[in-house]
């Protein structure tokens, strides 16, 4: 695979991932902006309104029909938090012309035109978004935000994060807040859209078996041409939490208790984060990990017991689903594992095994188009330009001492428990 990056206009970058491994081309457009209480709901709503119809394809039905004509091209959009930024993500995936029954349809070109049209050429009536769409999507957004409780495990994790980052950008819910919706209308939402389009950081990714033509398709596109140069407004640093020793127990009608323990890693610099990845794998990142082995296999308290590292925020979250009466038992076991790590009660072999697992996942980054896009976007955002080979090399260098050092810095920040 060959990766190139080019600034096509100030603040707007085109990333091309040229590879002949896939039957599909994947085009992604990411709009990155600061995560702020004032705009979080509007930004999320913009993405929902845009997908309802563009100036060219005015209804969902027309968009869907067009996608079906393009051999089932799939269009998708989502909202993510990347550090202290809110990222509006849009994707279109379509099959490469080589696999068509009739050739020369240039599906890629049409796909690019469609996605750019949906994002940058919205349906406007009287200098505002279409009222009907905005009102409907406000209702849908309300349902979506309220729908957080439907996935209990995810909900418990989100709640723990919110408690840890109360009053901080990262503590905001990525889809925003129901109470904001009543003040949003088709006029002020369109104003927010115009502002966003002037200020946000724009990254366009194209992955697939493509040639030089793709750059022309994008730079010559009318919607790209009309975008202004910008000094993109987004957060490159992220705010630390100020909560210490938080504890929150909440009730819901659940059968099983969901325990989440949020940890502060306190890394000293970017480079130390490779050590943390090894630490996390040994702590709870695999079936061999201390948490899986002790909470599940030895004590049989849980089916799910694991930990995840949030690199941008330098936090680890330990999760398990347990019998409610086993709360203290499970929590103590988790604390014991953290202590064990501090005391260096793990082997060189475990360090080596963790490296193997991480290296294997790094090596497969370019086996999946969306994973490679996420990887290169991560590099773009962290300003940390490491090639896959350098990344592997750096993981390979981590020692047991490095991991113990991480363990000594780790502190429990917040314990969250969802119970009945």
């Amino acid at each position: 695979m060959n990766y190139t990056k080019k600034e096509i206009k100030k603040g707007i970058k085109l990333h091309v991932l040229n590879t002949d491994k896939f039957k599909t081309n994947l085009v992604a457009v990411f709009l990155t902006t600061k995560l702020e209480r004032e705009t979080v709901t509007s930004n999320a709503l913009i993405s929902a309104v845009l997908r309802r119809g563009s100036h060219t394809l005015k209804t969902q039905e027309e968009i869907s029909k067009q996608l079906e004509e393009l051999y089932g091209a799939s269009f998708d959009c989502g909202i993510d938090k990347t550090g202290d930024n809110q990222v509006l993500k849009f994707y279109i995936e379509s099959i490469n012309d080589t696999f068509l029954t009739q050739s020369n349809e240039n599906i890629l070109k049409k796909s690019i035109e469609n996605i750019l049209d949906i994002i940058f050429n919205p349906l406007i009536e009287n200098n505002a978004f279409k009222k009907e769409y905005v009102e409907q999507e406000k209702n849908n957004m309300k349902l979506r935000i309220e729908g957080r409780i439907d996935n209990k495990r995810r909900y418990a994790l989100d709640r723990c994060i919110e408690e840890m980052y109360k009053g901080k950008p990262f503590g905001l819910y990525r889809f925003g807040y129901v109470e904001d919706l009543k003040n949003i209308n088709e006029v002020n939402l369109y104003e927010r859209y115009q502002q966003l389009m002037k200020q946000c950081k724009i990254d366009i990714f194209v992955s697939g078996n493509v040639n030089e033509e793709v750059e022309n398709i994008i730079t010559e596109n009318q919607n790209i041409k009309k975008l202004e140069e910008r000094e993109p407004s987004y957060n490159t640093e992220s705010e630390k939490n100020t909560v210490k020793q938080g504890k929150k127990i909440e009730k819901m009608d659940v059968m099983q208790g969901k325990l989440v323990v949020g940890l502060d890693v306190n890394s000293q610099n970017e480079d130390e984060k490779y050590n943390v990845m090894i630490y996390n794998t040994i702590l709870g990142g695999s079936a061999n990990s201390k948490i899986f082995q002790n909470v599940r296999e030895k004590a049989n308290l849980a089916y799910e017991a694991s930990s995840r590292y949030f690199r941008y925020k330098d936090n680890i979250f330990v999760n398990c689903g347990i019998e409610i009466s086993n709360y203290e038992k499970a929590l103590n076991l988790i604390k014991e594992q953290l202590k064990d790590m501090k005391n260096g009660n793990f082997t060189e072999e475990e360090v080596e095994n963790a490296k193997k697992a991480i290296i294997s996942s790094i090596k497969t980054i370019d086996d999946e188009q969306d994973t490679s896009i996420t990887y290169y976007f991560g590099q773009e955002m962290s300003g940390n330009q490491k090639s896959v080979d350098e990344y592997i090399e750096r993981i390979g260098e981590v020692t047991k001492e490095n991991v113990v050092q991480v363990a000594k810095q780790v502190e429990i920040n917040t314990i969250y428990f969802l119970r009945n």
């Binding site: 491994k21 896939f22 039957k23 599909t24 209804t59 969902q60 039905e61 869907s64 029909k65 996608l67 079906e68 004509e69 393009l70 051999y71 089932g72 091209a73 995936e93 099959i95 080589t98 696999f99 029954t101 409907q136 209702n139 849908n140 349902l143 309220e146 729908g147 409780i149 439907d150 996935n151 209990k152 819901m252 009608d253 659940v254 059968m255 099983q256 695999s286 079936a287 061999n288 082995q293 049989n300 308290l301 849980a302 089916y303 799910e304 689903g321 019998e323 095994n353 490296k355 193997k356 697992a357 290296i359 294997s360 996942s361 090596k363 497969t364 370019d366 086996d367 999946e368 188009q369």
Partner: protein, 424 residues
């Protein structure tokens, strides 16, 4: 080895049926760094009544044995656990059980052959003790409770309760706390020796490989085994009718969830299975897909706020269509879908719409061939039903509007429809 090429997706399947009965399928993927192997047995939670080879009497086992067996197979006599051993190799190992099959798998970039050693060793060498069986009951108990908190799983399972009178497809794959309490090591060994015979199993490997080499490597690691012929399994008599039309459960959800089910008479003809599967997918798109008139109306009226999912699940002895989503008024969605089915039956299907959706379906089948794991799982699942996955690409052009009309009448029958709802 049998070599089967497909010119549409430009992929090749190498297939070999060994003397001991094991089927090996290899799909080379040049340039992929990930290598993937899956070993499945054609045995899932549905196979609860059977004749142990060499015996005359039927054996009946508690619900959830296939899944329990999947958990326990990792346990080794020397006290190690194969999942740990595989994880230590840096490979990503797992296993899963469905109504119809059980499979053990791993994906990796390095250490493929050491991982293959371990996988092939543990699947061929069960080690169950009273103690290790007992301990697993706690873990699976928490797995059952995790599903109990999942409204989308409950709404599905409840739909199965009212679609089927007796067929075991209505039973949760993992069983219940009560049913798994009855499982002991004798039962596990009995099921293992019956269903883990090589003639009931298949291996699929996908990645950047030379097929001949892989086949030899697999053969080297197989224990001596004799094909035990067809296993006799029994399923209770299942009437064509539904049990009742509606079921509701209370759970804490933001908005009601629904699953609409349609009971379908199964076919055991693989060619017909493939054709039906494709035609039903096209019909579901025409009825409730994003470009359908009904979807637009329901969305504009605010009855739904997101997609309506449609799927067709089937084996040789059961088949049903499922339509699911979230809505403030699931009863309204249900009656509008019924009306739409009737409208389409009367007004017919437009050739234009049909061709457009067929293009979409074709594109989706092509997309299935990008990921090694997806490819291998697809070939394995289809193989156990007598289907070669390429058949979908090869047969798509045999579907026409006439056939769709026929299926619309035969499958989408009002008296075969049920609705399951989960709401506050």
């Amino acid at each position: 080895m049998q070599v089967i090429e497909n010119s549409k997706v430009k992929e090749t399947l190498y297939l070999e049926k060994l003397e001991n009965g094991l089927t090996v399928m290899i799909i080379p993927k040049k340039g992929m760094k990930k290598k993937y192997m899956i070993w499945g047995t054609n045995y899932g939670s549905n196979e609860n009544v059977f004749i142990v080879p060499g015996e005359n009497e039927k054996t009946e086992v508690p619900n959830g044995v296939a899944h329990f067996l999947e958990h326990k197979l990792f346990e080794q006599e020397n006290g190690t656990n194969s999942l740990d051993t595989l994880t230590a190799l840096g490979v990503d190992a797992n296993a899963f059980t469905t109504n119809d099959m059980t499979a053990y798998l791993f994906g990796c970039t390095d250490n493929f052959y050491p991982a293959m050693d371990e996988l092939m060793d543990y699947v061929q060498n069960p080690y169950f003790t009273d103690e290790n069986v007992e301990k697993e009951k706690g873990i699976i108990g928490q797995e059952i409770m995790m599903y109990d908190d999942s409204p989308d799983w409950k709404v599905y399972l409840n739909a199965m309760q009212i679609l089927y009178h007796n067929h075991p497809v209505k039973i949760d794959v993992v069983g219940t706390i009560d049913s798994i309490s009855k499982i002991d090591k004798e039962i596990l060994y009995k099921c293992y020796h019956t269903f883990y015979n090589l003639s009931n199993m298949a291996i699929v490997v996908c990645g950047d490989f030379e097929p001949e080499n892989i086949l030899e490597e697999i053969k080297k690691r197989l224990k001596n085994s004799k094909a035990n012929g067809k296993i006799q399994t029994f399923y209770p008599e299942e009437p064509d009718t539904i049990v009742k039309e509606k079921i509701e459960q209370k759970m804490e959800v933001s908005q009601p969830m629904y699953t609409i089910g349609i009971k379908v008479k199964p076919t055991d003809n693989p060619e017909e299975m493939v054709k039906r599967d494709m035609a039903i997918q096209i019909l579901l798109e025409l009825l409730v897909g994003k470009s359908s008139p009904l979807y637009k109306k329901l969305y504009d009226e605010g009855v739904i706020s997101g997609g309506i999912g449609g799927s067709y699940e089937f084996s040789e002895n059961y088949a049903h269509v499922l339509i699911s989503g979230q809505s403030n008024d699931p009863e309204q969605v249900y009656s509008r879908i019924k009306q739409e089915i009737n409208r389409q039956k009367q007004e017919g299907i437009s050739e234009n719409d049909f061709n457009r959706i067929k293009k979409k379906l074709y594109g989706e089948y092509v997309k299935d061939y990008d990921d090694v794991e997806n490819i291998a799982n697809m070939f394995l699942t289809n193989y156990f039903m007598g289907i070669n996955s390429f058949d979908y690409l090869n047969q798509i052009d045999t579907i026409n509007v006439e056939y769709l009309k026929q299926l619309l009448n035969d499958v989408f029958k009002e008296e075969k429809m049920v609705i399951s709802i989960v709401r506050n």
